[in-house]
Symmetry: C2
Subunit: 193 residues, 2 copies
DNA sequence: GTCTATACATGGATAGAC
DNA sequence: GTCTATCCATGTATAGAC
């Protein structure tokens, strides 16, 4: 891994752990093993490096989500697989945590990848739910758009609860509840019988 | 409002807007109109003042929640009233945002009020849901503990989505979805008929 | 109780040698 | 491309006058 790459990866880790305001160029340099001048050679400054880091994290989140959501199984099975996928619960969501960073949200460049990620994810889930409703798998009364928002929110909020409690249990519980509410919307014998 | 009080209120606002790492003693002093020495007379330092501010915000959240949850109406009506209560959506949750602050979470004193708040809120909702299940208002298959966690998580996550999108709409949508999933658990003719 | 002065570390960045 | 030196503002706190 070359220096530029190590800088981005170190920035990603630190943004995840400490957020934008809590992450200094110096800390990034130390973690990456790069010197002062080296970082300013590859990037214009902290915001520039942060943009590279944030963009990559956003891309990664999207790829991982898509992996579950386009996997095998019924619509509900795929969504449940996504909800239950193993996660670094106590570290929180590397993208979602950025919404709490005023310096990120006030910079359109930095904010862009964050906004797009959640817009995409919600749309993706809404499309799946709509598909489930259309094929009779899910109750006709279910609102795909709203429910998609709910599911994404549950995950983001579950991280908050787990971090508050200092234990992944609260996360599991919130997800369990969501899965319970969702599966209650499954019509008993599938759509094509 | 005396100086000490103004310091606490200013600290609360800044912690809400910018988090712990993003809030400097100097900024608190300026917002409160207090001088350097004045702040250090009333508090031992930043963590001490932050503790006062965090404790008060936690207390306030709890009081507001209790106001809705112990209000009039059926269990589901009270929960929906709580979920739909007017909120400063784009500012986020003043307590939940602290879970993203490593310096808060690593200090047991600062973390305490945050942990307690969510533990209390989840328990309170779980008790209500249990009551609804017991009186036949809610489906017997509903898991009160897990669903309580889900509802709290939806609110916390809905803030994240709204901030990411820069609009309260995403918040409303997520809450709508949760209300939809919850009311689908309501047994048709009430418990006592 | 509040003010000013002072202190020392860190944050964020630039300059110029190699 | 990387290193060291340097710069100025800010963060956090203490000391001591009033």
């Amino acid at each position: 891994m070359d220096t530029r790459e190590r800088l981005i990866e170190s920035a990603r880790e630190l943004l995840w752990e400490r957020g934008y305001v809590g992450t200094s160029p110096k800390a990034i340099q130390e973690r990456s093993g790069a010197g002062q001048g080296s970082m300013y050679h590859h990037f214009h400054g902290k915001p520039d490096l942060a943009l590279a880091a944030i963009s990559r994290s956003a891309e990664e989140l999207r790829a991982r989500a898509e992996a579950q959501l386009s996997g095998p199984g019924t619509v509900v099975e795929r969504i449940v697989a996504y909800l239950r996928r193993e996660r670094d619960v106590l570290k929180g969501c590397p993208v979602g945590r950025l919404t709490q960073d005023p310096d990120v949200m006030s910079d359109p460049e930095l904010r862009g990848p964050v906004a797009e990620t959640f817009a995409w994810l919600t749309d993706r889930l809404a499309a799946l739910l709509e598909e489930g409703r259309a094929n009779g798998e899910l109750a006709a009364g279910l609102d795909p758009e709203a429910t998609a928002g709910t599911l994404v929110a549950v995950l983001q909020g579950a991280y908050v609860l787990a971090r508050a409690a200092g234990s992944p249990e609260a996360y599991e519980q919130a997800v369990d509840g969501a899965v319970g509410l969702l599966t209650a919307q499954v019509r008993r014998s599938g759509g094509d019988e």
